[in-house]
């Protein structure tokens, strides 16, 4: 966004800048640590001070995500699909803002930034459609050899920590968060350390688009500082290490083994491609139910 503009009367208007905060449990707190860090554009010019999240912020976010899990996972698939679609609707309405933010953050040309924002919007739409289909694709009626009705259904694994991709501030972020929440998981997402601002602005969209408080929580700060707390947190069920550099990701994966988190290590990738199912499936458990058939 332009920081100042010349008004008709010739005087420069001083822009009202935004404070970029965390998004936890539906609220926008500053880091409890009171810290922030400087975010610059690709040429090194000051953009904003982003909140430098702490261990306590990460733990608060996990608590919020856990609290939201019962309601979100019990929501109907139709309802979750509509909520995700609503995110796309509101994002579309603020398309120009996000193009500008992504452009400034990542230092891209206008066409490129537009393509990425469009893809991010479309990704919400794509996942919205999956909400009430994944159980049919992944479920099964199992022909057991006996007088039983036996079926298997996918269920969300719980609280998912996401270390969002470092290089793709909006599309990458959406591409790792949406596949977790669509099936009823709740998420604590750590935004790109270098380009955190579009993700923070996205949380404003989430806050106004029927996503229940706590379903998606957004942290900003130092990956190397916050990610280990998420990886070792005993109330986190799964973790996506996309945004962690390889050396750190190994340590995080070892820490995640302590409570047998489901670990996604797909690495950075071309986020403009249509996703495969694996990210969605990584956060699904299969539950099998047996019942006798008889009179």
């Amino acid at each position: 966004m332009p920081d100042s503009a010349v008004r008709a009367d010739g005087a420069a208007r001083i822009a009202v800048r935004k404070t970029y905060k965390l998004y936890i449990g539906g609220a926008f707190p500053r880091s409890e640590s009171g810290r922030s860090y400087v975010v610059t554009d690709h040429k090194g010019r000051f953009l904003a001070n982003a909140a430098m999240g702490s261990r306590k912020d990460a733990r608060d976010a996990v608590t919020a995500a856990r609290k939201a899990f019962a309601g979100w996972s019990a929501a109907t698939a139709y309802n979750r699909g509509q909520v995700l679609y609503r995110v796309a609707e509101l994002l579309e309405g603020r398309r120009a803002q996000f193009v500008a933010e992504v452009r400034t953050a990542e230092g891209l040309g206008p066409r490129h930034a537009e393509a990425l924002v469009d893809a991010a919007i479309d990704r919400w739409v794509w996942y919205a459609g999956w909400a009430d289909k994944i159980a049919q694709v992944r479920g099964a009626a199992n022909p057991v050899a006996g007088p039983y009705f036996n079926f298997s259904l996918p269920e969300p694994t719980g609280v998912v920590a996401v270390i969002a991709p470092e290089a793709s501030s909006l599309l990458g972020f959406v591409s790792v968060v949406a596949p977790a929440v669509v099936s009823g998981n709740t998420v604590v997402a750590l935004a790109s350390e270098r380009f955190p601002l579009p993700a923070v602005s996205l949380s404003e969209v989430l806050a106004t688009s029927d996503v229940p408080a706590g379903v998606i929580n957004v942290l900003t700060g130092r990956t190397a500082e916050i990610a280990p707390w998420l990886a070792s947190h005993m109330d986190v069920n799964a973790i996506d290490l996309s945004g962690a550099p390889d050396s750190l990701a190994d340590d995080l994966a070892v820490a995640a083994a302590e409570n047998l988190k489901r670990v996604v290590r797909a690495g950075d990738q071309d986020w403009t491609l249509t996703p495969r199912l694996d990210r969605m499936l990584a956060y699904l458990e299969t539950k099998t139910v047996w019942h006798p058939a008889g009179t």
Partner: protein
């Protein structure tokens, strides 16, 4: 209730011809270990030595992995699915042909009642190979993409509670998908895996596709940390599962884990009590409670607590404990001295923490490892016997008042493998089933297994599924 006396009806062990000692099965042949170390496997019912078995060292594991790699690259992965299927069908048929021999051998080495090895374990082994045989040439229809690829060489480590059945759960889907395997059976129950090696020979399975390395924890560690394997599959304790998860974390090995459990078996006041009691007994005393999905926590609605416990005590009084080879036996031997010590220790802790212990009058044989069917009442959620997996014939009884409280208590565990629900109300079953955080929910039944039915846990009970279409995913590059 009259107590019936039964004349002994032992199954003959003459059908089993054991060798004095067994080598490792590598590249289609039995071969001695390179460093000459051996150990003995005994019958837990009599402590009689059954055979001498080779302890595979790292160099032996390396030989096995090399043989599996060669078979993967030159034979198995390139073979058409229709041909792989035929080998697996052959194996299923040979298992059926040798069913009685395998059942007796399993009961000898493991201590489980012949009634279970004969009617549950071995038939399921054959069914499992038969089921996955049919997938070998149909993988493109399984939902994992148009041309799903195998992973390579799988290192598989299995437990002692269902020795041959766990082997089938591991080997059948792995081979169907085009992988080759190196499997380590449990230290105390290697014999049916070695008999399976002979079945592979009879089936003319190409050398190196299946390799069996016997040994204890060190051998298992050498296998799962071997850089030449692409996939690790482990069934066993959560503690070892976590160690394996840590070891595999920095590698790109695909990992599936089927670990411990502390399942709640939930009985509502409107349940058919007699059926529920049978289900409770089957849930915890099946296989001496050596079952990861055992219903080891009975949650009974307060209003029917007295009635259920009275019926349960009556029923426990009729369980027959003794010779695993006797066809009348309900409860066999504890698999090992070490496991018996653990069961005793946790049961003593249960008493020390204030729960009331009860067992029916029950004569234990003098030799061998035995533990009577045991009930603990007055158990709180904080007691260790309500939190830790005992892996023995010990049931902890807790109570609840409302369905919500039952769900809360059932889910109050780091495990999430299985659960049972007993009620006549269909809507309550589905309500409970959707809220229980467990991979298998048995409603008005318990401990049922089938090759078409996916099995595996939530949370610290592990990840991945075995059985059904879902079981293929663990062995495909999906």
């Amino acid at each position: 209730m009259p107590k019936f006396e039964y004349a002994p009806a032992p199954e003959s062990r003459a059908i089993v011809s054991l060798r004095e000692s067994y080598g490792l099965f590598i590249d289609g042949e039995f071969t001695p270990g390179l460093d000459g170390r051996v150990f003995k496997t005994i019958s837990p019912a009599t402590e009689e030595v059954l055979a001498e078995v080779t302890e595979a060292g790292p160099a032996d594991v390396d030989r096995a992995v090399t043989a599996a790699r060669k078979a993967y690259e030159h034979t198995w992965a390139a073979m058409p699915g229709t041909a792989r299927a035929k080998y697996l069908f052959r194996i299923a048929r040979i298992v059926q042909e040798k069913a009685r021999e395998l059942a007796v051998l399993e009961s000898l080495d493991n201590g489980k009642p012949i009634r279970e090895s004969r009617d549950v374990d071995i038939p399921l082994v054959a069914a499992h190979f038969f089921y996955y045989a049919g997938w070998a040439d149909k993988l493109e229809y399984a939902g994992y993409g148009p041309a799903p690829r195998p992973l390579g060489v799988a290192g598989q480590v299995i437990p002692w509670n269902f020795p041959l059945l766990m082997l089938a759960w591991k080997i059948a889907p792995a081979l169907a998908c085009g992988n080759t395997v190196v499997l380590k059976p449990a230290e105390t129950t290697p014999l049916t895996a070695l008999a399976f090696a002979e079945i592979c020979q009879q089936a003319d399975l190409p050398p190196g596709v299946v390799n069996i390395v016997t040994g204890a924890g060190e051998t298992g560690r050498a296998l799962v940390t071997h850089p030449g394997i692409d996939k690790v599959a482990f069934t066993g304790s959560t503690e070892v599962g976590k160690e394996i998860a840590r070891a595999c974390a920095p590698t790109r090995k695909k990992l599936t884990l089927e670990l411990g459990g502390k399942a709640a078996n939930i009985v509502f006041e409107d349940a058919p009590i007699d059926q529920a009691v049978e289900g409770i007994v089957n849930g915890i005393f099946f296989n001496q409670g050596h079952v990861c999905c055992a219903g080891s926590r009975l949650l009974v609605q307060e209003s029917v607590q007295d009635e259920v416990l009275a019926a349960l005590r009556r029923r426990l009084g009729t369980l027959r404990l003794g010779d695993p080879l006797d066809k009348n036996t309900d409860v066999g031997a504890i698999n090992s001295a070490a496991q018996l010590a653990r069961i005793r220790e946790l049961s003593d802790v249960g008493e020390a923490e204030g729960a009331q212990r009860w067992s029916p009058p029950c004569d234990l044989p003098v030799k061998g490892f035995w533990f009577p069917p045991t009930l603990f009442t007055g158990v709180s959620q904080a007691h260790r016997i309500a939190r830790e997996e005992i892996f023995g014939p010990v049931l902890s009884v807790l109570t609840f008042r409302t369905p919500a409280e039952a769900v809360e208590k059932a889910n109050n565990t780091p495990y999430g493998l299985s659960a049972g629900v007993w009620t006549d109300k269909g809507s309550l079953i589905l309500w409970m089933a959707s809220r229980l955080r467990a991979g298998v929910v048995w409603a008005n039944t318990f401990n049922k297994f089938d090759p078409t039915s996916p099995f595996g846990g939530y949370k610290e009970s592990g990840y991945g599924r075995e059985g059904g279409r879902h079981g293929l995913e663990a062995y495909l590059d999906a």
